[in-house]
Amino acid sequence: MNYSIEAENLNLWYGDFQALIDVNVKIPHGQITSLIGPSGCGKSTLLRCFNRVNERYGNVTTEGKIEVLGKNIYDTDVSLPELRKAVGMVFQRPNPLPISVYENILFGLRIHSPMRSITKADADAIVEEALKSVFLWTDLKDKLKARATSLQLEQQQKLCIARLLPLKPKIILMDEPCSALDAKGTRAVEELMEILAGTYTFVIVTHNMAQARRVSKECIFMFLGELIEHRETQSLFTDPQHEKTSDYVHMRYG
């Protein structure tokens, strides 16, 4: 089996509070893995470890090892921009930058390449390709100069996925990507994920168990900072091995 992310004995503290306790996890390549668990169980924290965005909040201590694409990301020679280029992230609330749709898609590329190295023709092609792969091209091809924040929420979230694509990431992390969307928008984003899953590895945090069941191949259940169970989604839901998992998936709490 080919793994995109392997975490070993991962411990993480926010100040004195230990948010992750001895997490060992292997996330397979090219498919959707979901993280479920009650609020505050550390699933978002774990997700944010994979591209090290949580270090920005300060006061974070990490121990252990995370290998992303075969490279330990806590090594001193790891460049954060390069890591975040390879591991894209989509947030809970759609957060397009307050610039045009066109510039949103090129933003990542522009910060990773020297000034004026992208020609207009290249840029146009990149924007078109990115928008086509998230099925926004027909809707937005006349609105490329519009402010991205003026789009519908569903379009904004798709745009947030689209702007990762020009960077050619290997892994896309999603932190409750559909919680701000209605049923139709959720369906659209899920379909998009299913289509893209062959090319990219998706790790998705979700509170919606139906969604985890629908989209993910493997599912990880976390509880109070510990990884309780990691199995194939269907068997985790139908035949949970652990008491806490069964309580959670049968909605006895959480």
Partner: protein, 284 residues
């Protein structure tokens, strides 16, 4: 329907902009008049009662003050960036500066004015001789009145500069920090998650978004500084001269500029708010 709404919004924005310009005109014209009058007085070779070249020291003072407060504002903005963007919330330097700023910023600027006035008009020794070299109370001769000058490099000059800095910097730090904080976290997160460095996030997102507000901040701080100085001149006029003269011209000029800057900063904030307002999600 949507198009109609946007049209209405745009119209509303236009109207508000137009009224803003009218207000600016109303405030600007008297200031312009003062300048014109003083320069006219200047060329008319000045009567004995007004022996001084009026326009030039007037403007010199204004420029000196503006440049002092400009430097103080730049320092204030730099501090705001340092505190907000580099120091963690719990760092002792940040806590210290923020509490000092909270204390100083809470003092109404009139107290600074009174402080500076006290220094100016103190009867004690050297300090007095700097502001008013021969006050009317010494000679009883109004024509011996010399202008308050900020140009002289004397202790009072430095005390005044210090007063200015004390007054302008806390205000600038506080409001510029608020401006930086107003750049929503999701925007920063988005840029960081795409691999931007701290500098790139500042340069490409934070500064463009916060710039108008930071400018407004600077204008407001400068306005409060000018208003305070105007107050000093006002007190001077009221205490030592009878009727309008050079000092009251300064009073009008400085107060006018203060008012102008204050309104200008409100306009900037209003324009910023209407530019960042989101037509599709008005409640956000």
């Amino acid at each position: 329907m949507n198009a109609m709404m946007t049209c209405a919004l745009r119209k509303q924005k236009l109207v508000s902009q137009r009224s803003t310009f009218i207000i600016l005109g109303i405030v600007g014209i008297p200031i312009w008049n003062v300048l014109q009058e003083t320069s006219a007085a200047d060329t008319e070779a000045a009567s004995a009662a007004m022996p001084l070249n009026m326009l030039s020291p007037l403007l010199d003072d204004l420029y000196t003050l503006l440049s002092i407060s400009f430097v103080a504002i730049l320092f204030g903005i730099a501090w705001a960036f340092y505190l907000e963007e580099w120091l963690p919330q719990t760092h002792w330097v940040r806590r210290f500066i923020e509490s000092v700023v909270a204390i100083l910023g809470g003092i109404p600027s009139i107290f600074y004015g009174i402080l500076a006035t006290g220094v100016f008009f103190s009867d004690a020794g050297t300090l007095k001789t700097i502001g008013v070299v021969r006050g009317p109370q010494d000679t009883g001769d109004m024509s011996a009145l010399e202008p308050l000058s900020f140009q002289q490099e004397t202790p009072v000059f430095y005390i005044l500069v210090l007063t200015f800095i004390l007054m302008v910097m806390p205000l600038t730090i506080k409001t510029a920090q608020a401006a930086l904080r107003s750049v929503a976290t999701p925007i920063r997160e988005a840029a960081y998650a795409l691999g931007a460095s701290h500098w790139q996030v500042l340069k490409k997102q934070v500064i463009p978004i916060a710039l108008t507000r930071i400018l407004a901040t600077g204008c407001r701080a400068m306005s409060s500084a000018l208003a305070t100085v105007a107050l000093i001149f006002g007190i001077y006029t009221w205490q030592y001269t009878n009727g309008p003269g050079e000092m009251s011209n300064r009073f009008v000029l400085f107060l006018g500029s203060a008012l102008f800057l204050s309104i200008f900063s409100s306009v900037l904030i209003k324009l910023d708010a209407s530019a960042s307002a989101d037509p599709t999600h008005p409640t956000r």
